[in-house]
C-alpha cells in the first residue's frame, strides 16, 4: 500500500510543525511538502499528493483556480479559525485551529481511512496482472508504446495506462529498472534482451 502523502499550505511555522507531528502519528503517511506562501503553487502540480491541508486565510482566486484544476488528484482539508466555507471547493475534512488533539487526529484518520477504503474497492493488491506482465515483457524487450500497442492490438493510450499501473505497483519508474525486474522474475531471459 503506497503511503498517503500530505502537502501543508500554512503561514505559521508552529502550526505547520504541529500538523506534521500529528500526521506522523498516523501510520503509512508522510508530509511531502510545506508551503508558507501561496505563490509557491507550482509545487502543487509537480507533487503527487493525496491531501492538501490549507489555511482558509491563504485562499484566494488564483489558488482556487489551481486547486480546481488539480482537484481530482488530491483531496482538500481546510484549516480555519471560524469554520467558514469556501465556495466552489469541497473539503473532506475541516479542522478548527482551536480543536483538541484527539479530535484533529480523528479527522485526519478519517480522511486517510476513506481514501484507503475507496482504493481497496477499485484496485487489486499490488501484484501485476497477466496483461500487465505481457506489457512489461515488451517494455523490457525495448519496444515503444506504439509498437506494443500494435503488437497487442490495443490503443497506445491503454498501453500508457498499463505502464502507469505497473510503475505504481512495482515502485519502479525507469525502463532499465523494469527490465531488471522482468529478468529477475523470469518474464524475459537475459539473452532475449542482449539480442536487441
Amino acid at each position: 500500500m503506497p503511503k498517503s502523502s500530505f502537502i501543508i499550505i500554512e503561514k505559521s511555522y508552529l502550526i505547520r510543525k504541529g500538523l506534521i507531528s500529528l500526521i506522523d502519528k498516523i501510520p503509512n503517511t508522510q508530509t511531502i511538502q510545506q508551503i508558507d506562501q501561496t505563490d509557491d503553487l507550482k509545487a502543487l502540480k509537480k507533487f503527487d499528493a493525496d491531501f492538501v491541508i490549507i489555511n482558509s486565510n491563504l485562499i484566494h482566486k488564483e489558488l482556487i483556480k489551481t486547486l480546481m484544476e488539480a482537484s481530482d488528484t488530491f483531496q482538500l482539508i481546510l484549516l480555519s479559525e471560524d469554520n467558514d466555507s469556501v465556495p466552489g471547493l469541497s473539503w473532506v475534512e475541516k479542522i478548527d485551529l482551536n480543536e483538541s488533539h484527539n479530535s484533529i487526529l480523528k479527522k485526519l484518520n478519517n480522511a486517510v481511512g476513506n481514501k484507503i477504503n475507496s482504493q481497496a474497492k477499485t484496485s487489486t493488491p499490488d501484484e501485476i496482472s497477466d496483461r500487465e506482465a505481457d506489457i512489461l515483457r515488451n517494455i523490457a524487450l525495448g519496444y515503444s508504446n506504439k509498437e506494443i500497442a500494435d503488437k497487442l492490438f490495443i490503443s497506445t493510450h491503454t498501453v500508457v495506462t498499463h505502464r502507469k499501473n505497473i510503475t505504481r505497483k512495482l515502485g519502479i519508474k525507469t525502463v532499465p529498472g523494469l527490465t531488471i525486474y522482468a529478468i529477475l522474475n523470469k518474464l524475459i531471459n537475459i539473452d532475449d534482451q542482449s539480442k536487441l
Binding site: 512495482l170 515502485g171 519502479i172 519508474k173 525507469t174 532499465p176 529498472g177 531488471i180 525486474y181 529478468i183 529477475l184 522474475n185 537475459i190
Partner: protein, 241 residues
C-alpha cells in the same frame, strides 16, 4: 568545530568538500574557517541545510556570490565521482565475488549502475561546462557598470530557464535500484554487503537531493532575478543613448 561533527556526523562530508581536515583541536568554527580561507557564513548555512532537511533559508542563501555556490556544487560533483560512486561500484563488485547463486542478477545490477554512472557524469559535465560558466558570466555582468552587448547575446542563446527545464530528475534510476534490491532481488548470501550497499545508495540519493535543492531553489532564482535586471538595465541604457 568538533561540536559540529559530534552533533551530526553527516557534516563530515561538508567539511571534506570545503577542504577542512580533521585534527583542529578545540578551535572554533570561525577559527577553522579562517585558517582554510572558507567563508564562515556560507559554511554554516551549507552545513545546516545539509544535516537538517527542514532548514533551508533560501533567501539568505541567495545572497551569497555565485562563485561560492558553484564552487561548492562543483565540489559535490567531485565527491560523487571520486568517492561515492567508486564505493558503490566496489560493493557491487564484492557482492559478485562473494555470491554464487545470484551472480547473474548482481551482474545485472552492476550494468544498471554503470548506465546510471554514465548518466550522472553527463549530468554533472553539462552543469560544469555550460551552466556554471553561464551563471558566472551573468553575475559578472550584473556587477559591472555597463551592460555589454555580448551578455545580451549570451542570454539570447541560453538562459537559466532552459537549465531549469532540462534539469532532469537524476534520482529516479537510483530510486529504482534501491527498490529492486529491497523488494525483488532474491537475497544474496552476504547480507552485510547488501545492507552496506543500500546504505551507500540512500546516502548518495540524499546528497543528490540536497544538491538539486541548492540548484533549483538558490541558484536558479538568483540568476533569474539577475537576468531580469540586466535586461531592464540594458533597455534603459539603450533609451538613454
Amino acid at each position: 568545530m568538533a561540536d559540529v561533527i559530534h552533533l551530526n556526523y553527516f557534516s563530515l562530508a561538508v567539511l571534506n568538500r570545503f577542504g577542512i581536515k580533521l585534527g583542529f583541536g578545540d578551535k572554533t568554527v570561525d577559527e577553522v574557517c579562517k585558517q582554510y580561507k572558507v567563508d564562515v557564513d556560507f559554511f554554516l548555512e551549507i552545513v545546516n541545510t545539509f544535516v537538517d532537511k527542514d532548514y533551508f533559508p533560501k533567501k539568505h542563501l541567495q545572497t551569497f556570490p555565485v562563485k561560492l555556490i558553484t564552487d561548492y556544487l562543483q565540489k559535490t560533483h567531485n565527491d560523487y565521482h571520486n568517492i561515492k560512486v567508486p564505493e558503490i561500484e566496489y560493493l557491487i563488485e564484492k557482492m559478485i565475488d562473494s555470491c554464487f547463486t545470484q551472480k547473474d542478477n548482481i551482474v545485472l545490477l552492476k550494468k544498471f549502475f554503470n548506465d546510471y554512472k554514465q548518466e550522472l557524469q553527463n549530468h554533472t559535465r553539462r552543469e560544469e561546462e555550460v551552466v556554471f560558466p553561464y551563471t558566472l558570466a551573468i553575475e559578472k555582468a550584473y556587477n559591472s557598470d555597463t551592460i555589454d552587448k555580448s551578455v545580451i547575446e549570451l542570454m539570447e542563446t541560453y538562459s537559466i530557464e532552459i537549465f531549469q527545464n532540462e534539469h532532469d530528475n537524476i534520482e529516479e534510476k537510483l530510486f529504482d535500484l534501491k527498490n529492486i534490491i529491497i523488494k525483488y532481488l532474491p537475497q544474496p548470501k552476504d547480507l552485510k554487503l547488501c545492507n552496506k550497499l543500500l546504505h551507500e545508495l540512500f546516502s548518495l540519493e540524499q546528497d543528490l537531493n540536497d544538491h538539486a535543492r541548492i540548484e533549483e531553489k538558490v541558484l536558479v532564482p538568483k540568476i533569474r532575478e539577475m537576468e531580469q535586471i540586466i535586461t531592464e538595465r540594458f533597455s534603459g541604457e539603450k533609451k538613454n543613448a
